[in-house]
């Protein structure tokens, strides 16, 4: 019988945070998220956790499970072991139990202008983009904004103004998009005090990403692009 040790905190009761243990039935193929639902439905309706799609695409159920940040929905209990310790994502304020305050996470994301800025008027039909040009953004567009990378990043932990791996990965997606016309404006911002050069290349974000994306690599590429733009005199600070 697997045991879940779940982080609990409710400011309403005024209690300190603590870990609560729950015994679950042994069900073949049961995921950690299904385990949490089992607790909610059968043992303890006061347990709070986010979830939605249960198929690894919405990013709601990102949490710290057995030594790693990951999605509860696609994690099999047997892969963790008989005792499953579950904590909320780190570096964000804990609101209740496994629910953290994601406002700073989304605020940082919004700062990089996460939308296409074409240089001219769009054509009447689609912008032409070759399969090779499309392939350049293949992996960056698969980010689901689950915040596993953000919760695992030591720089985020110490610098609340750091844009974070999720926002920087997204930024490369636009820098590398053949349809975007704001490359140097973007690079100027990304090279600022809280951007790519704050990254210490610790690789946590890459190791935890449930989509196997590479924010560390993306940040490395942005560093090189920003430096090259600086040396060639193309980097202009804009508003």
């Amino acid at each position: 019988m697997p045991t879940f040790k779940v982080f609990r905190y409710n400011p309403k009761t005024g209690d300190q945070a603590y870990f609560q243990s729950y015994q679950l039935p042994e069900i073949k193929g049961m995921t950690v998220l299904e385990g949490l639902y089992y607790i909610l439905e059968n043992i303890d309706p006061t347990l709070a956790f986010r979830s939605s799609c249960r198929q690894g695409v919405c990013g709601s159920c990102a949490m710290h499970i057995g030594e790693k940040y990951r999605l509860a929905c696609e994690t099999q209990i047997v892969d963790i072991g008989n005792t499953v310790t579950i904590r909320p994502l780190a570096h964000m304020k804990i609101i209740r139990d496994l629910v953290v305050d994601l406002d700073p996470f989304f605020a940082q994301y919004e700062k990089i202008k996460p939308y296409l800025i074409p240089s001219g008027e769009p054509p009447t039909r689609e912008f032409k983009q070759s399969p090779a040009q499309r392939a350049k953004i293949d992996f960056h567009v698969d980010c689901i904004l689950c915040a596993c990378c953000y919760g695992s990043c030591p720089v985020v932990a110490t610098d609340e103004k750091y844009l974070g791996p999720h926002a920087l990965l997204k930024a490369l997606r636009y820098v590398d998009d053949s349809r975007d016309g704001a490359t140097y404006e973007r690079l100027a911002y990304l090279a600022s005090d809280f951007g790519v050069f704050r990254c210490h290349t610790i690789f946590n974000c890459q190791q935890v990403c449930p989509k196997d994306l590479d924010p560390t690599g993306a940040i490395g590429k942005l560093k090189m692009k920003a430096l090259w733009a600086k040396f060639t005199g193309k980097l202009r600070k804009t508003g």
Binding site: Q55, V57, Q133, L145
Partner: protein, 566 residues
């Protein structure tokens, strides 16, 4: 708090409506019980239809042909004027997405790639690998960010404030604070998505997709339409029912029974095979399983192996990832075990082509709405299109309408609705009942699967309807909800179960009454379509015991009903 236009739901329909209303000059508030990027639209995989004529075999495609395929696919229950609006708006709305940066897959010439989908005369489904919904969803969120539209996320709407046939706003529980709030608006648009979790033991839908989205307006006096039409997707992953996109078959995947046969040849022409519409394919699959040609009496094989590693990695990477994570199989080397799973609600909130309902100021768009463009059976690739075409129309219409009005806050109506909700919460928290609400939820989904599934008959449905009524009564005696303050998910889920029960009652009542087979509604005791008596939409009006059922005419056009042959 007051907005010109309040939008409830942050998926494709909701965000597209918000952008349209904002661009038309309205002050917009987008309310969602989850963050918009968590919406179930993001789980859509295969693609979005538009007659772009980009595919070499689709040069002759037109919006008219798209309209005909949609109407035929709907088994002639769709309103033809609405379908024509959708298919003619499709190319423009796809180009707009592309201009906003949506990462569609591409053909060699740089144009948007298209793939074949079930029931379509041409390959017209635009896609981004097998993550089309995710890309569209994120693209819309990016445009919401760009416009700095107010996004009130993790606000759980529990009630419409309606008085004298006019909507004054919504009551929400702000999960972040644990408090109820009234939010006033001159127009309210519901874009809350589908009700798949009514069938929660076997659905492709997210936990968040419950019946409450259609039931909140139903409780407030807005009729629901065509609720008996429930789409079963042919290929849900065995066990979890996670969607294996129709794109798998669009790319050339086979369905195989335990004799190793591509059995679809016994049901449709050899030209169509696995690309028959979903209702026909799902019935064929269930027949194979029922007649002993399934594996473990439960599933069939979706075989992609002959497509080769390169194509699978390039076009269906998400499918491979899900198979590896959830089933420990690799579709490059192994066939995928699949069975039909509840997928889509063709019915929903009755509304017109601009999303307007019978309650003044209240609109609906997306899967929760019934415009109706899908009739008795939706074609794959048309749901994403529906959400964005009608989301945009609805947002624009609502904004134009409220601009002509003075900003009036109906404080009395909002206050009394807020008071009712606070009292209801207190009642739930102090209940002395003993029933576990989640047991009721699970029993409901079992009844829906067993009695209102792919094959239906009068005896079972009568029994099923009685069982749902008993569950509704038992729900009056549930245990107390713990008042935990912030993020009271127990309150949220339990309230949603009440929505599932009401939506289930409508589905059951409509299905039992409709004595014919049309699209997804198949009755073994009335196996033929009956246009003379049943070429009409069902309408469900709330009454405490059971829904009141009436009917209205289907809007016909140039396409005359004919037998569906594929």
């Amino acid at each position: 708090m007051f907005y010109d236009v309040i939008i409830v739901g942050g998926g494709l329909a909701g965000m597209r409506a918000a952008i349209a209303a904002h661009d038309a000059g309205a002050k917009v508030g987008l309310i969602s019980k989850i963050h918009p990027v968590r919406s179930h639209s993001g789980a859509a995989q295969g693609g979005i239809n538009a007659a772009l004529a980009n595919h070499p075999q689709g040069k002759d495609d037109t919006p008219e042909r798209h309209a005909y395929d949609t109407i035929k696919g709907s088994d002639f229950l769709a309103d033809q004027d609405a379908v024509e609006i959708m298919t003619s708006a499709a190319p423009g709305i796809i180009f707009e997405f592309e201009h906003w940066g949506c990462p569609f897959s591409r053909f060699e010439d740089g144009s948007i790639a298209q793939r074949p989908f079930g029931g379509a005369g041409f390959p017209r489904t635009c896609y981004g690998a097998d993550r089309t919904g995710l890309y569209l969803l994120h693209t819309l969120f990016e445009q919401v960010v760009k416009r700095k539209i107010d996004v009130l996320y993790e606000r759980f709407v529990t009630k419409l404030a309606v008085k004298g046939g006019r909507c004054a706003g919504v009551i929400v529980m702000n999960l972040h604070s644990g408090e109820f709030q009234a939010i006033g608006g001159n127009a309210v648009i519901f874009a809350t998505g589908g009700s798949g979790r009514v069938y929660s033991v076997n659905t492709t839908n997210a936990h968040a997709s419950t019946g409450l989205g259609v039931v909140i307006p139903y409780w407030a006096g807005v009729p629901l339409e065509d609720m008996e039409f429930i789409q079963f997707h042919p290929t849900g992953l065995d066990g979890s029912s996670i969607l294996m996109t129709e794109g798998c078959r669009g790319e050339g995947g086979y369905l195989i029974n335990n004799k190793g046969e591509r059995f679809m040849k016994n049901y449709v022409s050899e030209k169509i095979m696995e690309l028959a519409p979903r209702d026909i394919t799902a019935r064929a699959m269930q027949t194979e399983i029922n007649e002993g040609r399934g594996f473990e009496d439960r599933y069939l094989h979706l075989d992609l192996r002959h497509l080769g590693a390169k194509k699978i990695m390039e076009r269906l990477p998400g499918i491979r990832e899900i198979c590896l994570n959830f089933k420990s199989i690799d579709p490059i080397k192994d066939p995928i075990p699949v069975h039909p799973a509840m997928h889509y609600t063709m019915g929903g909130i009755e509304c017109d082509k601009d999303g307007m309902t019978r309650v003044d100021g209240f609109y609906a768009a997306g899967e929760c709405a019934c415009v109706s463009v899908h009739g008795a059976n939706r074609l794959g690739g048309n749901s994403l299109l529906d959400t964005v075409v009608f989301g945009a129309r609805c947002g624009r219409h609502a904004a134009d309408r409220v601009k002509k009005m003075s900003q009036t806050v109906d404080t009395d109506t909002l206050d009394s609705a807020l008071k009712e909700e606070k009292e209801r919460y207190q009642r739930l928290c102090s209940s002395s009942g003993k029933e576990n609400p989640y047991t009721i939820k699970n029993e409901l989904s079992q009844v829906m699967m067993d009695k209102f599934g792919i094959f239906r008959n009068e005896t079972d449905m009568k029994k099923g309807l009685d069982e749902i009524k008993i569950l509704k009564e038992r729900f009056n005696h549930i245990r107390a909800i713990p008042d935990t303050g912030k993020f009271n998910y127990d309150f949220l889920w339990v309230t949603e179960i009440a929505g599932n029960i009401e939506a289930g009652l409508c589905i059951a009542t409509g299905a039992l009454a409709r004595a014919e087979s049309r699209g997804s509604h198949f009755r073994i005791d009335f196996s033929k379509r009956n246009d003379e008596q049943w070429l009409k939409h069902s309408l469900f009006t709330y009454a405490p015991d059971a829904p009141q059922l009436t009917y209205k005419a289907v809007t016909m056009g140039k396409y005359k009903p004919e037998e569906r042959k594929y």
